[in-house]
Subunit: 276 residues, 2 copies
């Protein structure tokens, strides 16, 4: 692991690191914020998964999470959204390839050699984080935005023993039925939609996956609300399953980091109450 | 005035606006955050001046001021740092021309036609803001970063009746003696250094300008500390003048927005206590 940068911020250290990923067969970059409490004891860790087109940097620069992370003693890990470098990609398509990993392990050529973000996020990166940072891996939470909200919900549903808490900002709750995700699912996972269900929050619940409770914030002025996001489908999926869902429609908010940063505090307090 | 964008954030509205500036003879863009309190009554206004290479966007995206502005009921105005468009500039020089207005009115050709940021910030933009936003112009504060810290200190010292409060992050306190400012001062203001003194915080104080008190934060790990910033010169200038100076060296902090956002809360509370 190589340190790209480390700067003081809000009493802790905001770092950016890179490493040669075996899983993705390329160099990967990620951000970690370490609060001052980590000097004394291992801290709980919160994973933030970003949305389409983003890298680790968007939330690091615009997410406004550091003040709370320091107050609550949380380590925040912000991975990239896809493999990078000299790998398969589609120019001028922001919904497939670089920046659009969708947190799945691709099974189809040419994607399957690198686009293995599910294993990267759930296996390789946690091992690296556990080795190099003072984290208490018994206390993990996960959240994310849009495609990263999809990542957080599906990964939590598939690993309910690992994560004690999960939330999302404007998540893609049903990518199988959303125009901006179908192309990537087909490319990465092939034509058989049964394999897609493993990476669709609504379908996972329908197929029996469970998680204690979710917090979801959604802006009412989000341009992707009616076509790509449709949180009411998730509400429907959770109904009568025993899964607790706190779905909040935030009046007048859009899909941007102005929305995310406005409610970052609520999400981190939600997670801290469950893992802090 | 044209609305470029308006988005909900932290309970208020973060807007970006543009207008044809008479002063700078070009279109200018600026950001204004309006907190929810402004729906009920005029709010005090805080001016944030940015540093070299920045536009209105840097602090808007990375400054983390909105939460506090909403809590404290402050309107935050973030102007650009120079004229823009098809105007004189020097390619590959970030210390002169676009992004490097230094908050002076240039008197020398070819700069004098556009580079009039002092008048823009102190006359034209306040008139526009007063006309279009619910501001209480009797309660104004000003702060800034680096070149914008220089702008805030000098503008406050030259207009002590207008501003009730002033602070700075890593300000250029003595641009006349700083390599990264001398070139611009010479280009904009000519060879006679007597004209430079009007836009140098240390020289202004030496020449008799006064302001009640300043808050200055400076990171100890700031790469520009010893050459370009040297806050101890400002400390020296303020000595025995009756000017109160709270100069805080922040251990391990650099020159970035990670530093600024870490102490944004302290600065906004400082201003609110004086204009809120």
């Amino acid at each position: 692991m190589k340190t790209v940068s480390e700067v003081n911020a809000h009493g802790g250290v905001q770092g950016v690191y890179s490493h040669a990923s075996e899983c993705c067969a390329c160099d990967m970059t990620f951000a970690v914020f370490v609060p001052p409490q980590a000097g004394k004891r291992p801290c709980p860790v919160v994973w933030y998964l970003s949305g389409l087109t983003c890298t680790h940097a968007n939330v690091m620069e615009k997410g406004e999470y550091r003040r709370l992370a320091t107050e609550l003693g949380l380590i925040i890990v912000c991975p990239d959204t896809s493999p990078r470098g000299d790998i398969p990609d589609v120019e001028d398509n922001w919904q497939l390839g670089k920046g659009a990993g969708f947190y799945v392990d691709a099974t189809q050529a040419p994607w399957s050699a690198n686009y293995r973000m599910y294993s990267y996020i759930t296996d390789e990166l946690p091992a690296l984080i556990g080795e190099h940072f003072p984290v208490d891996m018994g206390r993990q939470a996960i959240f994310g935005h849009s495609m990263g909200g999809h990542g957080a919900l599906t990964i939590a549903l598939k690993n309910p023993a690992r994560f004690k808490s999960c939330s999302a900002f404007a998540p893609i709750v049903h990518p199988m039925g959303a125009d901006w995700a179908i192309g990537a699912f087909r490319s990465y996972l092939g034509e058989d939609e049964n394999f897609w269900r493993e990476h669709d929050a609504c379908a996972l619940i329908e197929d029996g996956a469970r998680f204690p409770e979710f917090l979801v914030d959604q802006g009412s002025a989000d341009g992707f609300l009616d076509e790509g996001l449709r949180p009411w489908l998730f509400e429907e999926a959770c109904k009568d399953t025993g899964i607790g869902l706190t779905l909040r429609m935030q009046e007048g908010y859009d899909h941007s980091y102005y929305f995310i940063s406005s409610f970052m505090e609520d999400h981190l307090r939600w997670h801290a109450a469950r893992i802090g």
